[in-house]
Point group: C2
Amino acid sequence: MKPSNLISLDQALASVLDQAQRLDAPESVDLFLADGRVLWADCISPLQVPPLDNSAMDGYALRLADVTAPGTVLPVSQRIPAGQVGTALLPGTAARIFTGAPVPPGADVVLMQEDCEALESGESGEGSGGDGVYGSVRINVLPKPGQHIRRAGEDIALGSRVLAAGTRLTPAALGLAASIGLAELPVSRKPRVALFSTGDELVLPGTVAPQDMRPGAIYNSNRYFLRALLLRLGCEVVDGGILPDHRAQTVQALRAAAQDCDLILTSAGVSVGEEDHVKPAVEQLGELGLWKIAMKPGKPFAYGKLRKEGGGFAHFMGLPGNPVSSFMTFLVLVRPFVLRLQGVQDVAPRTVEAVAHFDLPKADARREFLRVRHNAQGGLEIFTNQSSGVLTSAVWGDGVVDNPAQTPIARGDRVRFIPFSELL
Amino acid sequence: MKPSNLISLDQALASVLDQAQRLDAPESVDLFLADGRVLWADCISPLQVPPLDNSAMDGYALRLADVTAPGTVLPVSQRIPAGQVGTALLPGTAARIFTGAPVPPGADVVLMQEDCEALESGESGEGSGGDGVYGSVRINVLPKPGQHIRRAGEDIALGSRVLAAGTRLTPAALGLAASIGLAELPVSRKPRVALFSTGDELVLPGTVAPQDMRPGAIYNSNRYFLRALLLRLGCEVVDGGILPDHRAQTVQALRAAAQDCDLILTSAGVSVGEEDHVKPAVEQLGELGLWKIAMKPGKPFAYGKLRKEGGGFAHFMGLPGNPVSSFMTFLVLVRPFVLRLQGVQDVAPRTVEAVAHFDLPKADARREFLRVRHNAQGGLEIFTNQSSGVLTSAVWGDGVVDNPAQTPIARGDRVRFIPFSELL
């Protein structure tokens, strides 16, 4: 048996990210459809926000100098709803103003309506300035200079960078782009990923009832979660189905997929077992590196390149067949890779410190990702069956502890926690 | 001016959740399309996983009693790839076996191939048992009882509950459902949400260039992030556009939306300002509660009900118009509400403890959600302009500090952090 390369996860990640050049050819998408896409170029603001000094409150705009003491009554000389622009404020008067409306020239403060009292026309006993239509206002609380005025350009300066290239767009980012008037954004195109499972023992759910499964057959589950993960990461998925354990058919399927995809992703078929046809097929069509990564779950992993007929190549990544291994390997290697293909620079999930409410007296020789979840006390509990062949632990858990090799854990220890929400 | 109700966020949340009955009429969706949907009924397993005792490794299945010391050589009597079933193991022989293949009757242990050495036929000097085709194997490491055998039913017992009703489906949950042979899942139907913005000052991005904006006009940004947030939460969005500041048109639009939607969501138009037509329109069509919530950003909020013509009602929620207030109010009130409409019970975001690397000497009288982000040292930094009218702070930040009323923060203090990834 040829020895495979045993490497650390960090080495493996650095190697695959080295190969992840941003895909060429951006596309312009409507802002309504841009959530989750990755920005191709910086967004520079063509305007300032707010465009004019405006009111942060519903209330009254006035001159600070006109208010000498609480109880002062000023006639209301104009009324400025949001969306309209007032005229220069007559001295000795106030303007009724609403949130977002431009502050009229001459006013230097806005008083919120809760701090004053609206009086009917004539009620104030004063007549100067206003025409009487709007009545007058009694000021109960002395305003502070500049109070409740949002300054022009305070939120976004003209020409400033509002969003940086490589940003993965979120709802908030879409809102921000809209606020500077953008209706479309230049984004990286979606990586096209061909997804294959391998193995004659695999049966597609729905095609054979549980009681009719032949001995040794199992339902294909990897295809479902890998597809969903890829979609969440902004990929277009070409479902290649289940590859038969047959060399020529494997070569044919991979060759076709390489033509029009950016990445071929397989699960199972890349360990050193004799039944694997993916490995020789990829070697025939390009090049392949088989690694054993010092991580648990998820030891076997392959990265390679498949030649396209017109030149260039498609990336190849081979995941282990065990669902938990496949899931975890995807999260730590494929996820950052497909984000990088789209131009995201910061692909590391944010980890937080948490407290173990469990013991792991016998640590693994490999770096281990333990499926855990928070309990009511805020500590982490561990899923008892960490070696399961199904994804129960990943459904039960709300994240993983990233535990270094050879590191036992005792109750109360502080550990590195990665929430699943950071990985999806 | 009528006093509005000032209530705590917790009171407001409890009140709206009280109204959030799960929507009737589940639907069955293909597993490929079920990511993010909410499970209507428990998933009970119709089978056990693994179906048979099987091998966790590529290696050799044998009888522990046949291996007395390291160096023992056993003839290989059969070969069992994954997907096939072997025959009862001949005494004194080993079976070549691959990961996932059923362990043959009689074998009680699996030896991983790294712990043995395959010998060509005849090389071993022994002939008993095997027919010579498969050669023999030298066992270099003594196996432990039961080693590398995954037991039938170990991961999922027949009849056990694999996923609970009310679970929001994730990629891992889809994989788990697939592994018990399910091709479709019963899920809650998508809440149908009519989304409106209000205000004559609003302009849709793309319709007017920045230099042509009339004074006082601003681009509508709420519509974009609210729509994206609703879609992420599994809703179907009916975009009602911008409501004009006109009473009869507002009534007409809301009446129509109430007919075929579960929830009407508006931004702006529910404060005590005189320019608001949404409030009287909702009161005309049903009932409305206007609240002032003791939270910052996001004071004004409305919940009501709009009568449907055929009986029943649509929910109404009115958000503040300021984008940051609208965003935050959505996350803490609308998000849990629309999840509960789908049957999710646990709608509270998970908070974590973090360390402030900033000072907030003057705390607000209201509970405040401060936009912050982690720095390289793992502490939280605060966005300087917390009162902004645009979403820069929410784009810059990776979450919020949930800071109780009247609670100053000093550098080094431990604070409650809610990552945005928990809220999206």
